[in-house]
Amino acid sequence: MSKEENTANRPDNTAFTQQRLPAWQPMLSAGIVIPGFVIIGVAFIGIGVALFVTSQNIQVLEKDYTGIETNSSCFKCTNPRVKNCNCTINFSLDKLFEGPVFVYYGLSNYFQNYRKYGASKDAAQLTGDLAYFTEPSTSCVPYQRDAKNKPIVPCGSIANSMFNDTFKLFQIVNSGNVAVPLDGKGIAWWTDYNIKYRNPTTNPLKNAFNDTVKPIFWPRPAYELDTTNAANNGFINQDFLVWMRRSALPNFRKLYRRITEGEYAKGLPAGDYALVIGYNYPVKAFDGRKKVVFSNVSWMGGKNQFLGIAYLVIGSLCVVMSIVMLIVYAKFKFPDEE
């Protein structure tokens, strides 16, 4: 008798165990899909127009100074035996180049994203840990120690290959040259400058580098990178920081200076300019190209036509697709069937 009432094994009656959890079951119905495509299409076209117009308004001036062509003023500098070579590139602006103007150097066919290149540094050393000054990480090989077995600081390929061309910009006014002041402050990321790279607390900084040698390709040691500003030396030198943030792609540009001071803060006025280049960095060996780029920026960053065009194309495709789907729907009307 009690057997019938015995329900010890009866499963629990919960929504979960009985697979009856309340649920939202969306469906790809015409009422959602077609208007959805239209809305997305219209929105994309809107964004695309905004991006395109913004991108069009950004001014960019690129000057290749590799010196491959024999008539280039920099051609003479491509000979590796020529030291401390300077060359000048002249250009003229026919209208105001709106400020703030950013000066970039650009390299192409340069594989900063090569795995072994990217790994060739010592993160701990670069935080100013003196222990790693005497014992750099093996990841820096072959730029871990020099021929005399002295530790290299900063070690590794990235640091060793730091870009070392220099640029000076002059406006040619009445056949006299007016130097355009180039501002090198704050061109690196805040986090790189404050957290990721730090100098040893040793004072003066030079002492921290006792018993170490400078990277082989460097003309001066790390604590003398900037001779004009003592605070801009060591691992927190802005140019060094910019270089150490290695590029994702083999063609890249890096920020060199900003033109933010004096009368040029509003931009470069129309006129003739001379760019004097201290040509040190050899790229000819690997078919690399060097260029200097003047550019201003907008809310969407630097000039890039792709995003705007892509948004316009995708937006239009969405609208076209919605029409196609509407036709298909009108012809077959599946959900209303039967």
Binding site: Q18, Q19, I40, P250, V328
Partner: protein
């Protein structure tokens, strides 16, 4: 192998239907049985080691086992590769973290399995004590030498003790010969031979004895049943197989990708690397070939995510979850026996959604194995209705209270003294081979050899003709309260050719009467011409209802003729040759000119909902074959009763073929209803090879296939045949020991629990209490499991391929240097954290349509049978889709970021920012893809999806924070990247663009597909959606049971020959004083397992003191 026992304490363990079961506990035994009230402990040397591990050996053994698995070994190789600095393109933790997780989870699972396995052998439910071991029967309470064996469950009540002397049993080692047993028993210096007749094999139940003592000879897996049930093969699903093939393909694909990249690296080395020396020196000089070789292995490490190792773990979790749903389902819970459904195997779920063939046992599976006397026809008038007023039998003191009849007019007729009606029931009370048992006055029990007979005699009992006792020469019955003793002159036994049985009795008044019951066709041929005008319509009606009919007739005999006949009968009986023929002739002679009394209709009660279930499964395009040990008539009858056979499928041809050995293999095929019968002798072990294909070809043209008289082995062979030649997924369902082989042979074995003991359930993959739950198991759980598993696999391959292909594209921009596109931590956590839960959520909760609609539209089942949701083709489509997505996910960020800068002029195309952008795009794109795949958004799904995305950003910002960098400087080099790039509008615009470009084509494609070629799923979903608000899903429809008048004989009688002789031999009544209790051994006829037909009761006759020639004839 020997069993030594001494100082045995035997305990009473159980009682069932007055059968008391004792099992001995001996203190110093080799094979040892001990028990308590709730469990029987079977152990060898008091501790059979069935668990694989102990505490100390667990870790090394388990790790060793795990690393034997291909997947884990592969991981280990990767790890070793990563430790080579020249090759290592990823930090060690990217492999170690997932590997540890996988190993830990598997180890936990193995450990818990081990604990469960421990319990499975040691702690046996008390009710399974006899079904778990082969017993040597020592003694029994029963002075009667007729002991029946029944298979039914046992139950415990109280303990009783007695002590045995020391003895020793020596016997053969465990083997699978069911029909042989060799051994000796030595007690008090005396040695007794033991043979097969003296052991009780696992799977039987004793009947007709109050108690017995047994000694466990073989326990657990050593029992003959287990040994003969075929090796438990590790079952794998077809998806498993496909997955393994795909993984191999992926390995090949990985090798191809890596080779391409290695070649690319060689070219790059020659063209670019060799001149880039100043910036990236090569201390050992430029060697393109060696560099390519190293690059190959570096890319093997990076691209290893195409061979997703977490796949196997996730698949296990999903299957486990879906198995739990089966355990938890209240709609598959049978309250009457308090039995929930049980997924005993957790690795086969999705195959439940792909079944094409079901092989079903009949007795106990389709039917309840209960016979009820439903209707009868007396003098051409039909009595009994299926519903209505039940008859009150309280006037009859001896009535069986369980008997139910729905027509009071019949009782009135009998009580009024209607001669025909009384004669009808008198016949039922006299003409049978039932053994009565009356322990106390008025408390009658019938031991019937077939349940049909039991039902008929019980009916007679309730209508006032109570069969009370029999001797070989007489039958004592109560006729409407008066005791009457008939002399039993002859029993004209039943056999399958005669299809009838008769008794010749002399009433106390001296009247000689022959009572005959048998198949209508047979009896009608032998009627007196005066009876022929009687209509057969009633019989046809019964047959149309699927009832088993028997025609009843009698004949008055005169003394002289009888005297002469008896003399000839005696002569024939003692004749040396031609005995059978001569007896048949005599029977034929006397059984003619019969007077028709009427007909009985016994219902072989189907389980609830069987016809509806079969109908729904048939609609799902599942072919159902019934494999039964029963006779053709009974099986056919059930076929009609559950609508498998219909009246429009009429003729049954019997095609007989003789094999080389002269065994009969009879195949009968009807034009429309195709009934296949193997009528082979029980010793025919195999289907003949040359007939196999013919059988299969014929059977597969049929709508319905019923195989009769098949042995357990043949059942398995039929299943194997279909498995092998049709390449279809098969399911076998059964409840008894004779179904074990078939259950093991099929892809999926289902056991009906709580009917005939536990053997079928123990070897099954799924078990539940009622056949009708099969519909829910397949159409709901199976379909969902298949759908979920396929969705999971498609998505899983998609997300991993997409992830990996981006690396491939990036290789062309980084000098094939095996530079990763993503942060190494992202690579580590992508499969484990960021995408693990959402896809699990989908694979555990997703349903395209709810359970009611799933059962309502069996057509929804067909995609699984056709392998539509996941196949090689679907996999290739997946790869193409991944390829497209990865192109978008790499080249859109590439183009959008090309030569651009931040809004303050600073760098944004640096490697770290690009990595962050690429991984964010990827994660959002695959999450959107998951959202598009998810049809059923529960709160859990929402939580998983949004939670995983939030976790991604939270973890990313944490890992890229100042604090983490200051603590683990070289581990988290991405400091500040998230802050510096995720605040840029163009980064977000790029993410939006990639997401839309990945998602919209899928949406448009699916939408158009639904419009142009809607599948049945789409139709049901839409209908479901539209009507959801207005109407609830309709309640499961009960189709009216179609009854068509038939010209078919409804004869079916599950009786066997030999019992007539038994009841008249007199041997069964010899009451012998029991001289030596301890060595009293009960021989037993051959095992039920070796016999084709399921038998309810089998006699165990003869004590060991009975000389060999006195042994009663046993059925062959």
């Amino acid at each position: 192998m020997y069993v030594h026992y001494s100082a045995c304490t035997c305990m009473f363990v159980c009682e069932l239907q007055r059968v008391y079961m004792y099992v001995c506990t001996c203190t110093t035994v080799h094979v040892h049985v001990s028990l308590n009230m709730h469990s029987v402990l079977l152990s060898q040397d008091n501790a059979i080691r069935t668990s694989k591990y102990n505490v100390f050996s667990f870790l090394p053994l388990n790790l060793f086992e795990q690393f034997q698995r291909l997947a884990n070994a592969y991981f280990l190789v990767l790890l070793i590769l990563q430790l080579i600095p020249e090759i290592s393109s990823l930090s060690w933790f990217t492999t170690v973290v997932p590997l540890l997780l996988v190993l830990t989870m598997t180890a936990v699972k193995d450990a818990s399995d081990d604990i469960v396995r421990d319990g499975r052998y040691y702690l046996l439910p008390l009710s399974e004590c006899l079904s778990q071991a082969d017993l040597l029967l020592l003694t029994s309470s029963e002075p009667l030498n007729l002991v029946y064996i029944e298979t039914a469950e046992l139950d415990g009540t109280f303990i009783l003790k007695c002590v045995f002397p020391t003895g020793e049993v020596r016997c053969e080692p465990p083997n699978n010969r069911l029909d042989k047993f060799k051994g000796t028993l030595t007690v008090n210096g005396q040695t007794y031979a033991l043979d097969n007749d003296k052991v009780l094999l696992r799977g039987c139940t004793l009947r007709n004895t109050e108690w017995c003592f047994g000694l466990v000879v073989f326990g657990g897996p050593d029992t003959k049943l287990m040994q003969s049930s075929g090796k438990t093969v590790f079952k794998r699903t077809s998806i498993d197989g496909l997955m393994n093939v795909l993984v191999l393909c992926i390995f090949g694909f990985l090798a191809v990708m890596c080779s391409i990249l290695a070649v690319g690296n060689a070219i790059w080395e020659v063209r670019e690397g060799s001149v880039f020396i100043a910036f990236l020196p090569r201390p050992n000089g430029v060697n393109a070939g060696f560099s390519a070789f190293l690059t190959f292995w570096s890319y093997v490490i990076i691209l290893n995510t195409v061979v997703p190792i977490s796949l196997y773990v996730s698949v296990e979790i999903i299957r486990l979850g879906n198995s739990f749903y089966i355990d938890w389902d209240r709609k598959m819970y049978y309250p009457k026996s308090d039995t929930p459904a049980q997924a005993r195997t957790t690795t086969l779920n999705e195959e439940l959604g792909q079944i094409k063939y079901i092989f079903s046992d009949k007795t106990g599976t389709l039917t309840q194995n209960i016979m009820t006397f439903n209707k009868c026809s007396i003098n051409g008038k039909s009595y009994g209705r299926s519903i209505g007023e039940t008859v009150d039998f309280t006037w009859n003191e001896l009535a069986d209270p369980k008997f139910v009849f729905h027509d009071p007019s019949l009782v009135e007729l009998v009580r009024e003294g209607d001669l025909a009606a009384q004669h009808f029931f008198r016949l039922l009370a006299l003409c049978h081979t039932v053994m009565p048992e009356e322990k106390t006055e008025g408390e009658l029990y019938y031991q019937a050899q077939s349940p049909d007979e039991g039902a008929l005699v019980t009916a007679a009992r309730n209508f006032g003709f109570v069969f009370r006792s029999r001797t070989p020469e007489s039958i004592r019955i109560m006729e409407m309260g008066q005791e009457v003793t008939y002399d039993l002159l002859a029993v004209l036994d039943f056999n399958n050719v005669r299809k009838r049985m008769s008794v010749i009795v002399r009433s106390p008044k001296g009247k000689l009467i022959l009572f005959c019951k048998g198949a209508d066709t047979i009896v009608y041929e032998r009627l007196h011409p005066s009876c022929l005008k009687e209509s057969k319509d009633g019989l046809y009606e019964y047959a149309g209802d699927g009832l088993r009919t028997l025609a009843l007739a009698y004949k008055d005999l005169d003394d002289d003729y009888m005297e002469d006949w008896r003399r000839r009968h005696h002569e024939a009986n003692i004749a040396m040759d031609g005995k059978e023929e001569r007896l048949d002739e005599l029977y034929e002679e006397i059984e003619k000119d019969l007077m028709l009394l009427g007909a009985t209709a016994v219902e072989d009660k189907l389980q609830d909902g069987v016809p509806q279930t079969i109908e729904q499964l048939a609609k799902a395009d599942i072919k159902i074959w019934v494999l039964t040990g029963d006779k053709q008539e009974t099986a056919e009858n059930i076929g009609y009763a559950c609508n498998m056979l219909r009246e429009d499928m009429t003729e049954v041809f019997i095609v007989a073929a003789n094999t080389a050995e002269g065994r009969d293999v009879t195949t009968s095929i009807s034009c429309f209803a195709n009934v296949i019968t193997h009528n082979s002798s029980p010793k025919a072990y195999a289907l003949e090879k040359d007939l196999e294909l013919e059988l299969l070809r014929t059977a597969c043209m049929c709508q319905t296939v019923i195989c009769c008289r098949v042995t357990p082995l043949q059942k398995a062979q039929v299943v194997e045949l279909v498995k092998h030649y049709k390449q279809a997924v098969t399911l076998a369902i059964g409840d008894g020991a004779n179904d074990v082989s078939m259950i093991k042979a099929a892809h999926i074995g289902v056991g009906i629990s709580g009917q005939e003991g536990m053997q079928a359930v123990l070897s099954s993959d799924y078990s539940f209490a009622q056949f009708r739950y099969l519909q829910r198991l397949l159409l709901v759980h199976g379909r969902w499991s298949y759908l979920r598993m396929c969705k999971f696999l498609r998505y899983f391959f998609y997300k991993n391929f997409t992830f990996t292909f981006v690396h491939f594209w990036y290789a062309f921009f980084c000098g094939f240097s095996a530079q990763t596109v993503y942060d190494e931590w992202f690579i580590t956590l992508y499969n484990l954290v960021y995408t693990a839960l959402p896809v699990l959520g989908m694979s555990l909760f997703d349903q395209d349509v709810n359970d009611r609609w799933s059962s309502q539209h069996p057509q929804l089942y067909s995609p699984g049978q056709l392998n539509l949701y996941f196949s090689k083709k679907a996999f290739v489509r997946c790869m193409m889709h991944s390829c497209y997505s990865s192109l978008i996910l790499f080249f859109i960020p590439w183009a959008a970021m090309y030569d651009t800068v931040r809004d303050d002029g600073k760098d944004i195309v640096d490697y770290q920012s690009f990595a962050l952008l690429a991984q964010t795009c990827l994660l959002i794109a695959v999450t959107i893809q998951l959202s598009l795949d998810t049809h059923y958004w529960t709160a859990v799904n929402q939580f998983f999806v949004w939670g995983s995305l939030s976790a991604y950003f939270a973890i990313t910002f944490t890992m890229y924070s100042n604090g983490m960098f200051l603590i683990f400087t070289s581990t988290f080099p991405f400091i500040g990247t998230a802050r510096n790039s995720l605040n840029q509008p163009n980064v977000w615009l790029t993410i939006l663009l990639t997401s839309i470009l990945c998602a919209l084509p899928v949406v448009a494609y699916r939408f158009t597909l639904i419009q142009l070629w809607p599948t049945i799923n789409d139709k049901v979903q839409v209908r479901h959606k539209v009507r959801k608000e207005a109407l609830p899903a309709p309640a499961p429809r009960r189709p009216p049971v179609r009854r068509i008048s038939t010209r078919r004989s409804g004869y079916a009688f599950s009786h066997a020959q030999g019992y007539g002789e038994l009841v008249t031999s007199g041997r069964f009544l010899l009451r012998r004083p029991q001289k030596i209790r301890t060595a009293l051994l009960f021989p037993q006829s051959d095992s039920p397992l070796s016999q084709g037909q399921p038998q309810l009761y089998r006699p165990i006759t003869a004590l060991n003191r009975v000389p060999e020639e006195e042994q009663p004839a046993q059925q062959s």
